[in-house]
Assembly symmetry: C2
Homo-oligomer: 350 residues x 2
Amino acid sequence: MPPPRRTTLKDLARELGVSTATVSNAFNRPDQLSPRLRERILGEAKRLGYRGPDAKARSLRTGRSRIIAVILAESLTYSINDAVASELLSGIAEVLDAHGHTLLLLSGRQHISQAPGSSSIADGFIAYGLMPPSLMVSADLPAQRPLVAVDFSPAGYPTVHIDNEPSSYRVARHALSTPARQVAIVSLRLTEAPCNGRITAEHELLPAERSITRSRLAGFHQALEERGLAPEDVPMWNIEENTYEVCAPVIEEILDLPDAERPDLLLCMSDRIALTALTLAEQRGLRVPEDLRLTGFDGIAEGQYRAPRLTTVRQDSVEKGRMAARMILGLAPSESTLLHTELVIGETCP
Amino acid sequence: MPPPRRTTLKDLARELGVSTATVSNAFNRPDQLSPRLRERILGEAKRLGYRGPDAKARSLRTGRSRIIAVILAESLTYSINDAVASELLSGIAEVLDAHGHTLLLLSGRQHISQAPGSSSIADGFIAYGLMPPSLMVSADLPAQRPLVAVDFSPAGYPTVHIDNEPSSYRVARHALSTPARQVAIVSLRLTEAPCNGRITAEHELLPAERSITRSRLAGFHQALEERGLAPEDVPMWNIEENTYEVCAPVIEEILDLPDAERPDLLLCMSDRIALTALTLAEQRGLRVPEDLRLTGFDGIAEGQYRAPRLTTVRQDSVEKGRMAARMILGLAPSESTLLHTELVIGETCP
DNA sequence: TTGTAGGCGTTATCAT
DNA sequence: ATGATAACGCCTACAA
């Protein structure tokens, strides 16, 4: 008994007494073939359980796989659960789907360590992140294949961004139009070395050019200065990961300060942070916005469906994903793109 | 000037004056090589910009790609945003990641139509869904490759399920322990033909064996009968897609019934449905649970972080994903598995 | 309209 | 420890 080898195009050709080229054409170029013969081939294929050309061999031969890889700075587990990242993925998936491509998910860490070069199946890459600095080195990015970066800026690649600085400026200006006794900033991934807590003079910040959080900070600072507040006098706390669990202890540290020191306005760099602050403030009986005003950034649904709604800046992450996908598929010119945002005034900072 | 061909293993071998086999071993089997030579090869590789063996060629040769495909019944866009599906993906991603595999996302529709056989790169498949009936035909499922089905049961494949019927029985029994004037059921994808609204006698239901919604319905019915209620007397509405947008019109139809007919207990087949009902009830000034009691199914976070919290059945979708991934990687025996759930009593139905 | 044959970049088997 | 060589399954000039 012969070993149960998968039937191949060649088997099919032999069985039918035609050449492999003809069978190949039956699948890939219907016009190169008499309809009758094509019918016969497809019929026999089904009979023999031949499912069409093998993707591995085909991609080796043609050099293309119809797979686009998304390199996520964070772990897949995190990214799938994060509202902003998953909206981005939605947008990407929507466009890829519509053009017969599929989506391979890679996490930044794995990409470099575990699967060295294993990502070379993909026809193109979309990199998303607050990427860890190591990944910014172009040496770690795929060679010879198109890459679009979203929300960070590796040198030499097209990017998709929102206008972070003007956006955070606008929300901060709105917040500061009502005087505050004590302002504080809660930032996301702003320090060079990991720091989940208060930022002091010792902490070195990420390079200004490369991180969207530095841009958002610049917007905050501009608004502060316009109000005559010195940025140095505004305390900052940093969050290492945009999740409730990581956020909560830092927010607690802030809310549990003595009354005189406790901020009454928190400028947060993400909605997740602001929502965490909202939950913890409510637990402590602090009234929002009377005792504590809050602003976020992102405009995720969760912040708008609840009461009070978040004052924030809405970015269209789905569209960001669509843009990146179109660029990588060559449906849009690969020119760095800047999307705009919308100020959303909710009840947390009217 | 020669065309800028990507450097290959063979180039590298020629450059170094060693055989391709040796170079290959330098990357794949360090122990088959003197460390000195290996160093030299790796060094030269870096110098020439060779990123390691090409994944396409490697997978053709070895037959394995370290890619696992997830076939999602719904569109990717929907699945990524749905809490249950994305938790499942988290669990899958977690295990795959830990074992050096990557995740290819396929949508059910695309799988069969657009990308015929293009999925044959994957080493294995995890199919998730309320799959459209057409996909249940084994002819459309990948041949010769392991497949694990989650939340549906194609004949002949191992599955991962929760105990739907006992779970819905438990939550319904709890709800019915307080007498209700008028009970109604809001189901999800229960009818053979699409139906977003009231289910009447004319509607044919999906086959009982194959759909988790039929199982959940059976649990509801059992609890009703135990209370002396005839299932025929309990009106049912059906929802076609588990999103707020699709849900809302149906729920509105229910809530806007004349007071005498309006149900005061809604047994919902998903938390999303129950949350939609909650939102719309609040908008109408209906008090929950005084005027309307609600139960859900799934136990998603959104239902537990709000007030009132949902009474529901919590399933561990992350663990479901982990199980499926372990099975597909051969880390767990490929035996159909049944996970259990936990009754969660919130304020929507105390 | 159909057939022939070379090669895509690797890895496994067998020698040496 | 290292080298030669034959597949892996397919596509595509080119020839017939």
